[in-house]
């Protein structure tokens, strides 16, 4: 058989396959597009930022390097954990404890000759607009809605209509919203198309269990675990800072939850469940990550080279029953707090206290704000910082909304996680 195999020297080169596709028009590529060397040069000179070097990030870095990109940067603040090894394929047992961004960058640089990958171990919030301005495209492989909202509002804020270079396409991949076999890829052109904030209510948080259930009437094993985590730890071990990666801490929560479950004759508290509840673990597998990461990288390649039309603007994938994708255009919203100019309408119960209203913002799909402060045009309703102002506005927490605002009045909400204000128009139910 070996006689029929062609010697390597007869092959045209390493990027043969990619360059074929970039050197010919396709049926869907733009009529004005010029394939060939200029397109290939544009690809090779595009500086790309990858946010996240986890399950999606590892795949994205590999995919970008083998899609011909030469200058890639990656940000991640995490270190490698044993539970990453079932999908984050750039990491080995010996890497446990090392920073993900550095190990991933070094691995891909070693494997794919000619690519430069610059890691940054830290938070995206450490970097300013000048930093983000250097990239052509930004691609996110995150598992945190908060980080996505932050980068989204930063990129929207950077857009200067006089300078087309200031508009940085944001390609976002996610697998954490639904369990295991699901995910989505989306393309955001800041200020021009629907942004992460416009789509916030499509990714509603899981409703939290009411505190009174946890404290007094547990029914599920999860309620017992929440009790151990939220209440018993505070009572018995308030001097220790709880660390969900500390096995002794998790064991204590598990044993405490197990004892409470016996008291109430509730079955099913396990160590695995304890970890899942306390660390908010979402199942994850390599294959789902591969699908989503590759979907996002395809869009980066298409935007950087124009070799095919890019996604407008959302593709969701579900793999539990066959292979299902749904591709559609999410709407840009006029009342988006980030890219719109109208206040967002919100229906509220006028008899609710301000304190309860503030708590509810954490779970409301259209807000998802954990530490909000708020004011109307005339007065501050509640302000967390500085402490004097907090103390001054604290009595308002007991007042009912109708005692503080008018039906249809607009309020401005700020949250330490974000740089912008969120405007809501409150309508009494």
């Amino acid at each position: 058989m070996a006689t029929s195999v062609i010697s390597p020297s007869r092959n045209k080169g390493r990027w043969n396959h990619l360059h074929k596709v970039l050197s010919k028009p396709g049926p869907f590529s733009d009529k004005d597009w010029v394939p060939g060397q200029d397109t290939i040069s544009a690809l090779e000179s595009s500086k790309i930022l990858v946010i996240g070097a986890g399950g999606l990030g590892c795949e994205i870095l590999k995919n970008l390097a083998l899609s011909g990109f030469k200058d890639i940067h990656v940000i991640d603040m995490d270190t490698i954990d044993i539970s990453n090894l079932n999908r984050q394929f750039l990491f080995r047992q010996a890497d446990i404890g090392k920073p993900k961004a550095e190990v991933a960058a070094a691995f891909v640089e070693r494997r794919v000759k000619g690519v430069k990958i610059t890691p940054y171990v830290g938070k995206i919030q450490d970097k300013d607009e000048d930093y983000y301005m250097q990239f052509k495209i930004i691609i996110c492989g995150l598992d945190s809605i908060e980080a996505r909202r932050w980068i989204n509002s930063t990129l929207v804020g950077m857009v200067d209509l006089e300078n087309p270079e200031s508009l940085k396409p944001l390609i976002d991949g996610g697998t954490e919203v639904k369990l295991g076999f699901k995910g989505q890829a989306r393309v955001i052109l800041p200020t021009l198309s629907s942004c992460i904030e416009c789509q916030l209510d499509m990714h509603a948080p899981r409703p939290a269990v009411p505190l009174c259930t946890i404290a007094t009437i547990p029914r599920q094993p999860q309620h017992c675990i929440e009790w151990a985590h939220q209440i018993a730890w505070q009572e018995k071990r308030k001097d220790d800072t709880f660390d969900s990666d500390d096995m002794e801490h998790i064991s204590w929560i598990y044993n405490t939850a197990l004892e409470r479950s016996h008291q109430f004759h509730i079955h099913g508290v396990t160590f695995q469940m304890t970890q899942g509840v306390v660390k908010n673990i979402i199942p994850a597998i390599a294959s789902t990550n591969a699908v989503i990461a590759a979907s996002t990288t395809s869009e980066v390649l298409k935007i950087a080279t124009s070799c095919n039309p890019y996604l407008e603007n959302y593709m969701m994938y579900a793999g539990e029953e066959g292979v299902y994708t749904y591709t559609f255009e999410a709407e840009k919203k006029a009342d988006c707090p980030v890219c719109g100019n109208l206040a967002r309408n919100m229906n509220v119960d006028a008899n609710m206290t301000l304190g309860d209203f503030i708590d509810s913002l954490g779970e409301k799909a259209e807000a998802q704000l954990k530490k909000p402060s708020m004011r109307t045009e005339e007065k501050t309703l509640y302000q967390r910082f500085p402490p004097q102002l907090e103390e001054h506005t604290r009595p308002n927490l007991q007042l009912k909304l109708r005692e503080l605002v008018e039906d249809g009045q607009e309020i401005a909400v700020s949250d330490p996680a974000y740089t912008i204000d969120f405007r809501f128009r409150l309508h009494f139910k």
Binding site: M1, A2, S4, V5, P8, N11, N16, H17, L18, K20, V21, K24, G26, P27, F28, K62, N63, L66, L85, N86, R87, Q93, K113, L179, G180, A185, R219, M247, S251, Y254, N255, E259, F264, I266, F271, Q272, G276, I281, I282, P283, A284, I285, A286, S287, A290, I292, A294, S295, S298, E299, L301, N308, P309, G319, E320, E321, G322, V323, Y324, T327
Partner: protein, 559 residues
């Protein structure tokens, strides 16, 4: 306070920690099935003519990556190619030092690095040679073939696999286009289909069993309860109690249609206390919200009825698979009671801890009783049939819990458009094409690619031709379009012809080459289906999927 629990409970093993994120999806049984499985990847079967070294095979290797990471038992790579420069630009599991070496050996070596628990084997031989050893194929639980490949090879492999009931996946990843088909055994039953938990609740509100009815009666008079008690009655009890009252005033009939159910919902709503400080009751809100979904008589889904009526379920033998014996016992249960065994799970609801646990126990013990009844039938069947080993209790339990959602996929062969294709296949392709912008056109373009490659490989005189040879493409396109008209002479309309031409142009753009990124996506999708087939959990593709990377969308077809 925690001293009373043994320290042995204090943590999972390092294997459980490594696989934690996937064990939450398919549990220890799924993991065991993976670890017992060896997967065969036939990544190339010789060069595609003299101007090419063969299929690139990045999609196949990426598929294996996604199976090695979660810990399949082992894999075998069959690939005759020698590593070239072009491979390094597409395949991540090759490195500079791999140049000039066996591609099978090198990809095997670098894939094994991903997971020390997985065995890897490589053969730089032709698969046809390997198949002459009758023990070779049966070592594997799944076969993955990277297309395009010689028709004779594909036929031989898929036929041998069919005889051994080994599933086969046949993949194409060409430029921005992906298509793959799954060949399953004639019947492929799945018990753990993992439906949406919302859809699996079976509360039996319209046909409660005696213990449940007794529990509702023992509540006594709701009016005399204090606000706290009244606000903590589990909503299931509320609905059962108000259903009794409703029936009394409606000639013994439960609400049947949408209009009556909305009236019943109003009736439940009117019973909530509003004079309390909260101005309403959460348990009543839950009851009101549950009316439309849960106040319905039990009805057997058509797909389950079909399974009950299959000959495998009706005519058991000593050698019947466990699935059919249990299914038959459950059919007996259904015929006797008009319902399936109770799954026994209960949603969370506003209630006092003890009341909730008591209610949960009523559901659980009924579920246990149903399992016992089914088990008794099974034991009888086992004796009558003279079966050697008893079906495990656990298996019966899992089956009963999932009885309303079991599935039997009727496997089909890898679809190929050719002169001996059956009428049903051609008809499905024609009907797929009727959808506007259908991706069936990509399937057709890949079929033409297969035919072109097959002709180059099997005709020595054509060996110098490129896989992008204009003459060959035109000839096979005409031939395949003619085949589509074989049984249905309605002409193919202009839009559809344009759609097919577009797909051909996009596929030919790559000249048979792969884009790493699209192959990585294909590897994700194919691995996902492999995991479902190997674990026998979730529902696999039936039977063909096309992904169009140019327009970021996919479609599924039964071909």
């Amino acid at each position: 306070m925690t001293d009373s629990f043994p320290a042995a409970l204090s943590g999972p093993t390092s294997k459980e920690r490594k696989y934690d994120r996937q064990l939450r999806l398919w549990a220890a049984t799924g993991q065991q099935a993976l670890e017992d499985a060896r997967v065969l990847l036939v990544n190339s079967d010789g060069p595609l003519g003299s101007s090419s070294t063969g299929v690139v095979g990045a999609a196949g290797v990426e598929t294996l990556k996604n199976l090695v990471l979660p810990g399949i038992g082992g894999f075998t790579i069959v690939d005759q190619a020698i590593v070239t420069e072009a491979d390094l630009g597409v395949n991540f599991f090759l490195e500079e030092e791999s140049l000039g070496k066996s591609r099978a050996d090198e990809t095997c070596r670098l894939l094994r690095e991903l997971n020390p628990d997985v065995q890897g084997y490589s053969y730089s031989k032709s698969i046809t040679d390997l198949l002459t050893d009758p023990n070779f194929l049966p070592r594997h639980k799944l076969v993955i073939i990277s297309g395009p490949t010689k028709r004779s090879t594909l036929d031989l492999l898929s036929q041998k696999a069919q005889e051994l009931e080994i599933p086969v996946l046949y993949i194409h990843s060409v430029g921005f286009c992906v298509t793959f088909s799954l060949q399953l055994p004639a019947e492929f039953p799945i018990v753990e289909t993992h439906p949406d938990p919302e859809s699996t609740q079976d509360l039996r509100l319209l046909n409660p069993w005696p213990e449940l009815t007794a529990a509702v009666s023992s509540l006594g008079d709701l009016e005399s309860m204090d606000d706290h008690q009244h606000g903590h009655i589990p909503y299931i009890f509320l609905l059962l109690r108000f259903l009794e009252q409703w029936k009394q005033s409606h000639g013994g009939k439960a609400p049947e249609n949408y209009k009556e159910k909305t009236e019943f919902r109003e009736f439940v709503h009117s019973k909530a206390r509003t004079s309390n400080p909260e101005g309403g009751e959460e348990n009543f809100d839950e009851a009101v919200a549950a009316v439309l979904k849960t106040v319905s008589p039990f009805s057997l889904r058509g797909s389950i009825r079909d399974i009950f009526e299959m000959p495998q379920c009706q005519q058991l033998s000593a050698g019947s698979a466990d699935f059919w014996v249990i299914a038959s016992a459950i059919r007996t249960f259904y015929n006797a009671h008009g319902v399936l065994p109770l799954p026994g799970s209960l949603p969370d609801m506003k209630a006092q801890s003890a009341d909730y646990v008591a209610l949960q126990n009523i559901y659980k013990s009924k579920a246990r009783k149903d399992v016992e009844e089914v088990t008794a039938t099974i034991r009888q069947l086992e004796t009558t049939l003279g079966r050697a080993t008893a079906i495990l209790e656990r298996e019966v339990e899992v089956f009963c819990k999932n009885a309303a959602h079991i599935k039997v996929v009727r496997g089909r062969q890898i679809p190929q458009i050719r002169s001996d294709s059956d009428a049903a296949l051609l008809k499905s392709v024609r009907s797929g094409l009727q959808m506007p912008e259908s991706l069936t056109s990509i399937f057709i373009a890949c079929q033409i690619l297969d035919a072109v490659v097959d002709e180059i490989q099997s005709t020595p005189a054509l060996n110098e031709r490129s896989v992008d040879d204009e003459g060959l493409w035109m000839a096979h396109k005409e031939r395949i379009l003619a085949l589509l008209l074989r049984d249905d002479s309605t002409p193919i309309d202009e839009d559809t012809l344009e759609n097919i031409d577009n797909a051909i142009q996009e596929v030919r753009r790559a000249e048979g080459g792969e884009l790493h990124n699209i192959s990585s996506l294909a590897g994700g999708l194919v691995a996902q289906e492999s995991l479902k087939v190997l674990t026998r959990q979730y529902v696999p593709l039936d039977n063909t999927c096309v992904f169009d990377g140019a327009r970021s969308r996919s479609e599924m077809y039964r071909l």
